[in-house]
Symmetry: C2
Amino acid sequence: MADETNERALPATSWAVLGLLSFGEELSGYDLKKWSDRSLRFFYWSPSFSQIYSELKRLEKSGYASSRMVAQDTGTRDKRVYRITDEGMTAVREWAREAPVDPPVLKHGPMLRLWLGHLLEPEQMREVLGRHQEFAEQMRRRAVADAEAAKDESAWAYPTLTLRWAERYYASERDLAAAMLDDIDALAAGRDGRGRTLGP
Amino acid sequence: MADETNERALPATSWAVLGLLSFGEELSGYDLKKWSDRSLRFFYWSPSFSQIYSELKRLEKSGYASSRMVAQDTGTRDKRVYRITDEGMTAVREWAREAPVDPPVLKHGPMLRLWLGHLLEPEQMREVLGRHQEFAEQMRRRAVADAEAAKDESAWAYPTLTLRWAERYYASERDLAAAMLDDIDALAAGRDGRGRTLGP
DNA sequence: ACTAACATGTAAAGCGTTACATGATTTA
DNA sequence: TAAATCATGTAACGCTTTACATGTTAGT
């Protein structure tokens, strides 16, 4: 009996790609990248083309996906499409059900810069926060639009749930930036002028 | 006249470490790691020991930090401590003021798993969300405690501002998980039983 | 014909972690 | 005196991106 325990140890990105395949469609690397950009992107970063291609190779080597070449209609270059195997389905289900719940990884560049507020003028902090607000609102709107487009397909029930989560998450990011703008104003007022706005 | 433009191109993590040094203290790699774990951690991931050591070498090579060995009191091994240079101060200030505002990087493992809800039982989704809630509440409490400890030192005014942001951010994460738990209950009720709770 | 966009990959380089090596201090 | 912890690093490895190579299709 071979020890198969370590075969299951894949990085999260592999599980993400296998998760995309777990919806059952036969997809190329290019398809997967495009889909990942419009779905995972809201709560997970979207891997680059080259990483998707190498993850697919690894998944095939693990026996979790199979591939075949398909000829295109006209003289287009052939492409390789991937499909999840039964083994892959079992493995990704087990991962989703039983992996430990790790803390999300957050690298919030704008907040890092505001943490260094002693290096900035208040005006520059407002600039950073303003741009971050715009980004958050843009993401929120995209989540709303995508959720609307998927809302009647019961196959997309759970992806739609996470889109609703994303809608609220980015609304919160936007509002948190607004609250921080207020805090900065209060701090600047307390510094410059006479008296603080905080005490009686 | 040499082209110095590309010398300024450092990864964000370098700027984070230089940012830690920009508060003016002379610190060892070990000190920086400990401090980073209690500050950056709330909004930026905390780099490993080994990366901090190698970033410090890079910063010294760039001329942004200088180091010296200091002998310890008793027979303890000597340690190397780093201090930011004037050039480093100028560079990090320029970075904080003028770098483009990039979107935060989020890798939300729990949400990835919920996106794959078709692979889970509702009970397992609740388990994942429950653990995430606990994590978020724990982070929120730590942010509150740290903000309280720093609140009267005007030198920490901006770090305290980001701690207040973190307090609200993790409160929001906790509440977003609660909202999603409700959505899952509603979806499960619509599936199982008779009729949905959504329509008239 | 030329350009831009689509599409599929490979190669090289850089980012970041885990494991390891070393040694002192404290606690049991 | 043995084990646990603090502390400082280096080495090896794995993840991820950017740059590159190749070829097709559609628009101008």
